[in-house]
Symmetry: C2
Subunit: 298 residues, 2 copies
C-alpha cells in the first residue's frame, strides 16, 4: 500500500495514528464497513450450520505451545506479563519509571497471550472424537502479530473472521475448495479485482524455509489477493487453508472413524478487506457504487 | 454471581470455558445481546455529536505510564513481550519448552500493552488546547485487567463502551451527571433493577487507600449496580466518573480558556450488562419480554 494511501487514511480520520507502527484507532465510518463485511461473510456461510464463537483479545498462553505457533512463528507472537508484588516492589518499579529505566523487566509472565490465529482457540474444544460429518465453526478473532510496519495493510492488531472445519481429509479438502470459490465470489461482488495464488505462511528461520516449501508444493495454502501496492506484492484479503493432520495431532482430535482428524479453515482479514474497498471505491463509503453498498448494508 | 449461574452459562453454551479463570469464548447468542446493548448505548448518546473511535486490542505501552495507570493500578495491567532473536535463540527457546521450563523469560518487552480503560487512548489525541465547548468521544474498547476470577462478571478480557468529555469543570460535572441519569434510565428500561452508589477505583497499595478515600469523599465515581450475587456486593454495570484535571495534566490538555482541561466519562461494561440481562430474564434471549427485545433489536 502506498504511503500516499496511508496519509489519506489518516487525513480523512478513517484511521487514527497511535504513535506505534501498525496500531490504529478506527473511526465509526471504518467500523461500519468492517461490520458490513462481517455480516456478508456470515451470510455467505449461513448454510454451514456452524457454531459461532467470538474470541476475547487474549487466550491461554499454552495455546501457543500446543498449536505449534511458538515453534513456527515465534517472531510474531505476543505474551502478556503482569505485575505481581507488594508496596515495596511497586515503589521500586515507580523509581525505575521515574529514572526512565526499564520497568517491564520487573513484571511476571502470566498464563495468557495474545491470539495470533483465530482458529487455534477452537481445537482444544474438540479433543477426543468428532461426530460423524465432523464439526464446523464460525469464529471471530482479535489477532496480534508482532510485525510493526507503516503499511496499514499490515497492522499489529487486527480481526480475523474464519470458517473452520474439523473432520476427515475429504471433508477438509472440500471445505478449502468451497471457500476458495466463495471467497473469490464474495470479494468480486464487492467490486474488488482479486486473484488466487498459492502461498505459504511466514515460517521462522532455517527450518521454516523447508516448511514453507512443502506447504507450497502441496498447495495447502491459497490466498485471495488484491493489488493495493503500486509495484509490490499484492495483499492477501483472505486465505483458504488445509492443515492436514497438524491440529488433529497437536490437540488429540479424532474423526468419527477413529483416524486423526484433518482440518481446514478460511480466514478473512476484516481490516484488509475494508482497506481494499476504500482503495478501490474511494474514502467515502457513502459514495460507493450502489451495488457494493447494498451488499454490505442490505 | 453465584456458581450456579456460571455453570448454567457454560452448560447453555452462552460462554465457553478456556481453562483460564476469567477468559471465555462467547457464543453468537451472547454476542447478539452485546451488539444490541452497544447499539442502544450509541443511540442514547446520539445527541452528543461525539467522534466515534474503536480501539485495537493493544495500545502503546507508554499510555500506562502517562495515564498514571502504572502508579495506581499496577496489579491489573498487562504488558506484551515478544520474541526477538535468531535461529540459535529460537533453538534455546524450544529446548526450554521441551524440558517444560519457562520460555517466556527469553522474550523481550515490546512497545505495546493491553488496554485497561478505553478512554485512556483518547487523551494523547487532545494534547494542546481544546475548542470552545470541549470535545466529546464515543469509544469502544477491548480491555484487560489481570484479576483471574471464576465469577463471570469479573472477566480478564472484556469490552467497555464509553462516552467521554474533555473541557471545563462545569462541562465535566454536567457530563457525569447527565450520564448517571441516562445510564439508570437505559438499564431500567431493559428491565434491570439498578441502584446508584458512590464508589472508588481499586487503587493499589497503601497510597491507594488514601486515593480511594478521596475519590469517595468527593463523589467522583458513581456506579450503576445490579444485585447479581445472592449475598455479596452488587455488580457495577456502568460507572460515571469525573476525573478532575488528572488527565488534563497528564496529557497536557487545555480547555478553550487556557485552564487545564477537566474530563469525565461514562463506561458501560458490555459483558456485565449482558450477564445482568441473562440473569434477570433467563438464558434464552428469544424468550425475553417483548419490551426488552424491542429496545435491543428495534
Amino acid at each position: 500500500m502506498t504511503t500516499d494511501f496511508r496519509s489519506e487514511l489518516l487525513a480523512s480520520g478513517l484511521l487514527v495514528d497511535t504513535g506505534v507502527d501498525g496500531l490504529y484507532l478506527r473511526s465509526g465510518k471504518f467500523e461500519r464497513v468492517v461490520r458490513g463485511i462481517d455480516d456478508l461473510v456470515s451470510s455467505a456461510g449461513a448454510d454451514q450450520n456452524a457454531s459461532v464463537l467470538h474470541l476475547p483479545a487474549v487466550l491461554p498462553r499454552v495455546l501457543l505451545e500446543r498449536s505449534g505457533y511458538l515453534r513456527s512463528f515465534p517472531d510474531l507472537l505476543g505474551s502478556v506479563s503482569v505485575f505481581i508484588g507488594d508496596d515495596d516492589l511497586h515503589a521500586q518499579l515507580l523509581e525505575r519509571l521515574g529514572r526512565g529505566k526499564n520497568w517491564v523487566e520487573m513484571l511476571t509472565p502470566s498464563d495468557v497471550a495474545l491470539c495470533s490465529a483465530a482458529c487455534h482457540a477452537l481445537y482444544p474444544l474438540c479433543s477426543g472424537r468428532l461426530p460423524a460429518g465432523g464439526r464446523r465453526f464460525e469464529v471471530f478473532g482479535q489477532c496480534f502479530r508482532h510485525e510493526p510496519s507503516v503499511d496499514p495493510a499490515r497492522m499489529q492488531a487486527f480481526r480475523m473472521h474464519e470458517f473452520v472445519y474439523l473432520g476427515d481429509p475429504d471433508g477438509a479438502v472440500a471445505h478449502r475448495n468451497l471457500w476458495l470459490e466463495r471467497s473469490v465470489d464474495l470479494l468480486s461482488v464487492l467490486g474488488l479485482t482479486v486473484d488466487v495464488v498459492v502461498a505459504n505462511d511466514p515460517f521462522f528461520g532455517r527450518a521454516g524455509r523447508l516448511l514453507a516449501r512443502n506447504q507450497r508444493s502441496e498447495t495447502l495454502k491459497c490466498e485471495i489477493v488484491c493489488a493495493l501496492h503500486q509495484d509490490a506484492q499484492p495483499t492477501a484479503l483472505a486465505s483458504s487453508n488445509y492443515h492436514l493432520d497438524h491440529f488433529g495431532i497437536a490437540f488429540g482430535i479424532g474423526s468419527a472413524n477413529g483416524d486423526v482428524a484433518h482440518t481446514a479453515c478460511v480466514g478473512f482479514g476484516a481490516e484488509r478487506v475494508t482497506l481494499a474497498l476504500l482503495h478501490t471505491h474511494g474514502l467515502d463509503p457513502d459514495a460507493w457504487p450502489r451495488k457494493v453498498k447494498s451488499r454490505l448494508w442490505p
